[in-house]
Symmetry: C2
């Protein structure tokens, strides 16, 4: 229904809609404990490119999914993403003071609050998925998908591998496995949550979306590494050059800058090719692949 | 089916069954990332009285619930409980070095691992509930119940209020609200998860179980405070006298020791009375109320 709209208008529309949806689906600031709720809202609202919600909506578009369940899928995955950022930024992890150009939660509030904010945001994600309209079987499948992608065999496990690898020389295959879990799993879940919010997927549809998700997941990380090595902190809204300073293995440190850029471009084409069976319906997914590779922050 | 069995045999049976179930439902140690999985298992296995699983099984007994879904409900609530302990013990929270007589996770491993262990255990709880046998609607209701009880309006929110109240003189009503969220919400969820694993509850059944859960939830905390003030660390398996040292408000500091003991006994009777409509079927729930009030650790 939005097929003729330029991508930037479509994505701004989704971002605006998500801001309202997230605000509604987070606990109100007036509720006790107020400080916790204020901090949860600080961590989620008014920030971020909302890449994961964009993926959810773009995939939902392919299958003409009903709006309520798509919004809940998008909000849930964004809350999981936000919780992981809050915890990753804490002193015992990456010890970052800046996120999306604002003080991180443990700086703005305190460490204990940051810990609880992350914990409560994760819970809220599953609560949001379990409520609202739609068949129970569909919602339960979305809970399972999101839990699977964000737990110890997905995002959280990737974070653990990342921690262990600081100062180590990872091989390219190990680096890819780490990122496939740490970042890729949740991006893949976003695509599949959007699709699932529309219908049960056939094997061919699942496979095509998986191939797309795998390509953009990897591309996302390659571009992150390129930006970390080339952009400045003001543009990024977070501390640049941090991976090199922390002696973390990156695509740039392993492949070099030129080969990293070529890889990102190759992955963008793979993502487009994977979506061929969906024709024009996959327009937004293609455009997001472009966005991920061509972004400057 | 276990009605004639002494409570201690029944509870040992549930505890043994839960040890096997939790071991099966946690990610295997051999899977990558191994250190995270080892630490998750360390945090959950071989310890604790398993009060919450006992409640799940006891409530499931009332409604003759099928075994698989009861076990999953019990495992999920125990994983949520375990995650909350791991995070509560961290330096930015209670800074405890001893739990169930063993070094806490951040001492045995490190802070970053403790953070991820808690995060991944929470996810695993929702994953476990979303899988396995049983109708989707029932499993989804269990997800919603557990998320509701453990988030910012339940356990996690209670923890936030507890943090803010250190050094403050809470009134009895405020103290009760804090504990109703921090400890009571998950105990209540245990009772309702067990019951829900058997059937959809009538309003009268819900109300009766709620009254029971409210009484034992409060009793649990009152007895915790009594033990913290009177027992030694070796018996408790954790640091005794810590609340007083931290200047945390407790029932003992507000009511005194004798009135606290009377309150616990009164709550035990209230718990029994609430279950009258279920007759002998509620035997185990009654016995757990006794256990909670009469425990020495």
């Amino acid at each position: 229904m939005t097929a003729g709209m330029p991508f930037s208008d479509w994505s701004k529309g989704v971002q605006a809609l998500m801001e309202v949806a997230l605000s509604t689906l987070l606990p109100a600031m007036e509720k006790t404990p107020q400080r916790l709720h204020e901090a949860m809202r600080y961590a989620v609202l008014d920030g971020g490119k909302r890449v994961r919600p964009l993926l959810v909506f773009a995939a939902a578009d392919v299958f003409d999914a009903p709006r309520d369940i798509t919004v809940r899928g998008a909000a849930a995955v964004e809350m999981i993403h936000a919780y992981s950022l809050v915890h990753d930024d804490m002193p015992c992890m990456d010890d970052d003071e800046l996120r999306r150009g604002k003080p991180t939660v443990h700086i703005k509030y305190d460490e204990a609050t940051a810990l609880l904010v992350g914990d409560a945001l994760q819970t809220q994600a599953f609560l949001v998925l379990s409520e609202g309209e739609g068949e129970s079987a569909r919602k339960l499948a979305m809970v399972r998908l999101l839990a699977d992608a964000s737990g110890s065999l997905g995002m959280c496990g990737g974070q653990a591998i990342d921690l262990e690898s600081v100062g180590e020389k990872l091989k390219l295959a190990e680096l890819e496995q780490m990122h496939r879990m740490k970042t890729g799993a949740l991006l893949r879940a976003s695509v599949l949550l959007g699709a699932l919010s529309g219908k049960e997927l056939s094997e061919a549809e699942s496979k095509a979306l998986d191939a797309y998700a795998k390509a953009i997941g990897l591309a996302f990380q390659v571009v992150d590494d390129i930006l970390d090595a080339t952009a400045d902190s003001a543009t990024l809204g977070k501390t640049a050059g941090k991976d090199a300073a922390d002696d973390k293995p990156t695509y740039v440190s392993i492949l070099g800058l030129d080969a990293s850029r070529e890889l990102a471009e190759k992955l963008r084409h793979e993502a487009h090719d994977a979506l061929a069976m969906f024709g024009d319906k996959a327009q937004r997914l293609c455009e997001i692949a472009d966005l991920i590779v061509q972004r400057k922050m």
